[in-house]
Assembly symmetry: D2
């Protein structure tokens, strides 16, 4: 449940306000050059307080490699990655111990486990993605050695495109104590044809599961996605031309297998559920209460989701690449 992948496997752990977060990467090939410096940049991009679209905050999130690397290269053994949590003021969350925030996992964790770490969302916090991103950085390193690159971007915020306009949408919502949603796109280039395993391990199925498994994502599409539902076949099929296709409506995947064209996926990201405006909810006793979620929260989570989506796509592709290698190269 906390392990992802078949050959390039990642197990993550950690809560928002526990001692540490991290991941164990099992199945990374040996002899890949690797150091913390390969991982830290992607972690830095997911940190709060970087970039024009997110609010400033101070957390270091320094990663340490505890195993699996010797004299600068991977050894084929598990790579344990840890980020220690700094001293967080957990008491800030005392008010949330017995109340369920709307749009959050508070009520479902309580239903599932009968117990929860309420501090900062515990395991359901956005900080959980630290483990994914750290592990994903290793996957992306492996892919880069095979000529595959992954890049993400914010496509739109609140239905608006263009960076200045998107920044304005976020600022306007924040000013009212509200939040907004957006759309994030990730693209992988250099992917060879033939990755992906029919029928339940299709590459698009794996990508969809990987991206929908990121908190706040409510929709995933590949290539032209939902737009295809309103098309004719004659306008949707990519013609196949000698040397490639002139179009890529399929988003680089046919029948669950990569075509060699860029792989294109998009996620719909919901507005941050933590807002300062009053909301109706219940407490642990089931009594109706009103809640305003204080503290500093990103008014839009989409920008910070970009490196997470890159990491997840990287994990899917690294796994698919090793599976492909297993069968006859």
């Amino acid at each position: 449940m906390n392990t992802f992948g078949r050959l390039f496997r990642v197990t993550t752990f950690g809560e928002s306000h526990g001692p540490a977060l991290g991941a164990v990467v099992d199945g990374c090939p040996a002899r890949i050059p690797l150091a913390e410096a390969d991982i830290q940049p992607l972690l830095d991009r997911r940190r709060p307080g970087t970039g024009p679209l997110v609010s400033p905050r101070a957390e270091a999130d320094r990663v340490a490699i505890l195993s699996g690397v010797f004299e600068g290269v991977t050894t084929g053994t598990p790579i344990a990655l840890v980020v220690m949590n700094e001293q967080a003021r957990s008491s800030d969350y005392d008010a949330l111990r017995d109340v369920y925030r709307p749009g959050h996992a508070d009520i479902t964790y309580a239903a599932k486990y009968g117990v929860r770490d309420h501090r900062g969302g515990g395991r359901s916090s956005g900080r959980e993605t630290i483990g994914r991103v750290a592990a994903g950085a290793i996957a992306l390193k492996l892919l880069s050695l095979r000529g595959i690159a992954v890049a993400g971007r914010v496509v739109s915020i609140h239905g608006v495109e263009g960076e200045a306009a998107m920044v304005a949408e976020i600022a306007a919502a924040a000013a009212r104590g509200d939040s907004v949603g957006g759309i994030v796109e990730v693209v992988a280039t250099g992917v060879p044809a033939g990755l992906g395993d029919p029928v339940f391990g299709k590459l698009d199925a794996a990508i969809a599961g990987a991206l929908m498994g990121i908190g706040a994502v409510k929709g995933v599409e590949i290539g032209d996605g939902f737009a295809v539902a309103a098309r004719f076949g004659s306008e949707n099929n990519d013609p196949i031309l000698p040397g490639g296709s002139g179009s890529n409506r399929a988003g680089g995947i046919l029948g669950g297998i990569s075509t060699g064209a860029p792989i294109v996926a998009r996620c719909a990201v919901k507005p941050t559920p933590s807002i300062a405006l009053p909301q109706r909810t219940v407490d642990a006793a089931g009594e109706a209460v009103e809640i305003r979620v204080g503290g500093r929260h990103d008014p839009c989570i989409a920008p910070r989701l970009v490196p997470v989506a890159e990491a997840m796509l990287g994990l899917v592709l690294a796994d698919a690449l090793l599976l492909h290698d297993a069968y006859g190269r």
Copy 2:
């Protein structure tokens, strides 16, 4: 790769024009009343030639249970399900042996495996779903005994809603030798709160992977899906009220765990890639050729995808239910 699920596990097999298709269901609890009559109706619904939205054709697709059932109840051992292929005219496909149909998996299978069964699409045929649907029917039976019901429907065809209008869209496309896409929705009711496993086994991630893994699906969304990207948090959060919520924008899942509200998922289905209109493609030697795909093909695959989507949602939920049971409820 051809196995789905962790506890309620399904392995499918079979090609369009091989001797048989089917599935092995492993992990179905013992003492569930089961007979072919529980499975055949869902298979009949996926057959061609049923319902107002699809074209008539004659195939029996009779399922046989080969194991795992004794004196009318499951025994806890694997349930093997087989549907024999009737004598198909494979020679109809001789022209496709060395040419790749646009929008199909012909070219990607060739890239991946270096060999392919070209007859009717082989493993990438829509007939592959017979195994899923047969297995899914058992999952749905299990769920029904726990008070959970799954139902799907076509939401729109070519952007149009309403059954008469949708039929007209399909008919119009078919008349021109073309095809159209659509949107299919599946809803599960009676799902208890607490199903789904963070962080990589989230219920929405599992559903997204399951539905995107159906051929022709290019997008999946949960609850209000892509619409949330253009919303404010204050209008997207479902308030939590004593005794439930007045809205279900989240589609029954928060933090990857079921809330107890109906689970709602939608798939974008691309237009059938097989069309009678001329298309540009290449043959196995890489030479440019023109192709018109003859034979009888559904001008819209969305209606036939409904029972497949129900089956896949059933498989996800049956698996999640058993996993939930494992942890002490």
Copy 3:
């Protein structure tokens, strides 16, 4: 639970007196020449009534390939294998419906599932190995193309070695309505160094699990096995010499990874629990009864276990070989 392997995966199904037994092999590489004739010989060797050590009986056990092979080669898709059960006289087993045979799984299946197919042992019958053997034959074919051969033999019966002596032991036991145990050895030659994955996927661990998972096996050892417990290190270590080692006490595995020397494993096989002599047991109501198990039963199961052990070792090695290939060698 009924699936074995990580990349070369086998799912088996079927009961002794159900309609059919078989297996689905998923993850066999494409373009391997394969036909029923590659599988039938190993199945024939596991059949009753062949060889000097077993009793004559008449069953055909003809295997049919239902999928995954096209024009004489594997396509990379699942290979479904089926053996239909001939019309067995299930009524022979009516007397066993409500009584538990000592040494058999009757009582544990009843405890686990609350229901069981009592006819011929149902799923716990020796006929269950048909699926394993059919699948194992494909693994052995794959291995043979890579220069790896697997061969098994009966080492001893009732503590006695030599074929004539072993036959005499079996005959003597059978004459008294009793049965005897024995030891079976399997050896793989041509295995390259480097197969096996520390720490939980060690090659010896996988072999031990595979062989102990055969019915009637109560012990497994690798190389010199239990004998090492009474040795000094100076006499147990295999010296490493240029060009190989002069000894192979380790049985071809060090640290869970193959050394390149032959892999040697042995299984302790218990006496057939079905004997004609009277035994004390209980019925389903818990009442004490005396039982004599009639019908034709092998007085020693060890000889028939040889092809099953070969099949299981083949499955382990095929899986390890593909895993090894995945990591770039």
Copy 4:
């Protein structure tokens, strides 16, 4: 490869002389009381320098819980466990950088990965078991809450039984710079009938794989094990009596499923391969060299293997118990 279990899952990491060793336990039920004090005692038992049969040495091996526990109970999220390696004198191992110790995994790791951490055996060190033991302690805690106890012991050393005689055997070997092997037994009591999943997840198969996967183990047997190979059926079958059986030759498992009687397993442990006596081997260039392995090494590894075997049996049973719970009992 470094993950064990299906529902109670453990992923271990770490090398002998790297920064840390540890494990992530995923799938432990919520609301189990847990603290470091539940784990440390089993770790202490596996440390060098405790008990009459092992040599004194000083290492702390203090475990820290990094996640998954909140206010003294498990939360259902992954439990990360870490033991930091103290400053070891890695330079002691410089002489082993380019030479392969007989009986060790040095040569097979080099063959498999093309690179290895030679310091203290790296991942193939006995210190790797720290992660297993720490995780196993949690499994044993869970089992204890269900009335299941696991206990191990050294049965014999160099073929000799009795503690004083065994100590003498070890001392005599050590005095000569040699080592000796032994046999370790683990017994689980209180196990309910019905655990284990035919056919590939049989309880005895899982135990065999788990125990054979411990370094230095070359054989595993269940119940009377290899002795059954020289018996008649009439003397090997346990009679079934009302209220249980008078004997337990089967070691608590029939048909791969627990009977309710104590589960008994034994491992053959080879003599420590590191000995001070001269041995023939090769260096990384393939040249013949003589080696004497200096430093402090246990002259017999069997005593220290006892808590490791308990941990592995605990992991198998915890997993089997949760799987059993999943199916409705």
